[in-house]
Symmetry: C2
Subunit: 140 residues, 2 copies
Amino acid sequence: MRGHGRRMTPARHAVLDALGERGEHLTAEEVFRSASRRCPDIGLATVYRTLELMTRLGVASKFDTGDEKARYELAEGPKAKGHHHHLVCTSCRRIVDYKDFIKEETELLRKTEEGLAKKYGFRIDSHLIQFHGLCPDCRK
Amino acid sequence: MRGHGRRMTPARHAVLDALGERGEHLTAEEVFRSASRRCPDIGLATVYRTLELMTRLGVASKFDTGDEKARYELAEGPKAKGHHHHLVCTSCRRIVDYKDFIKEETELLRKTEEGLAKKYGFRIDSHLIQFHGLCPDCRK
DNA sequence: TGTATTATTGAGAATAATTCTCAATAACTA
DNA sequence: TAGTTATTGAGAATTATTCTCAATAATACA
């Protein structure tokens, strides 16, 4: 954060903490509620701004499950323990975090990122991998 | 479409055609404008409904680039010629379609889908792969 | 350590994408 | 061909997200 010429503020701390402790798949509203405990005066707009910033920096990742709210979670780079991808039910919106195959995926992703960076001149900060389908319950 | 117990209507045809000919990354609004030519009475709500349906069926895929409109394109399953993934600039929102690495990615994705389907009991219909970062212009 | 600079904030208004409602219509089935 | 019922169009309604702006406070620097 500081490294990017940004200031570290209580609001940003609160958002970061909220993401860290409340776990995955949080909507902005949920982050707001959590963060409010630590930082009672925080405003919803600030939460949105902070989440967007963090997403840009690759600290958080934003994704959506088909209902209309975006969801956020800590990105914890590919090497982190908690790193996972999502399997989303298109009917009930249930989200399964999976870590299986992550190792192979990660390796391929790394290579792909490297190749893309070189070929297209991008500086790649994050990726989004998601599978969609019907969960066992909704298949019936 | 018919296979899923759905009816084939002029509106759905028009949406499908719009996606087919106008290419990638269309917003609902853009699909609406295109589809209107073929089906002058089509309503925006129908376009949204149809796009959602198609996304569910795995015929279309929905993704977002960070601005607030969702974007859609034909899914053309992993085997199709046009199949590609996205590289999105988090600053200017530019989208690069890339096909490089697709072959390896596809192979891994296939295996992953198979494994996930077995382990979690999902019927997997589609996937979303996206890289985010800064494009050459925005790096400056 | 105090001060200036300027990024950041909170509140609420404003925007705009998307969904909802409902009566009318038209695909499909038998 | 008629009946059933999914689908539609229009516009209203919702609601997630962004914007505005003056006030505040984090950092840099004297």
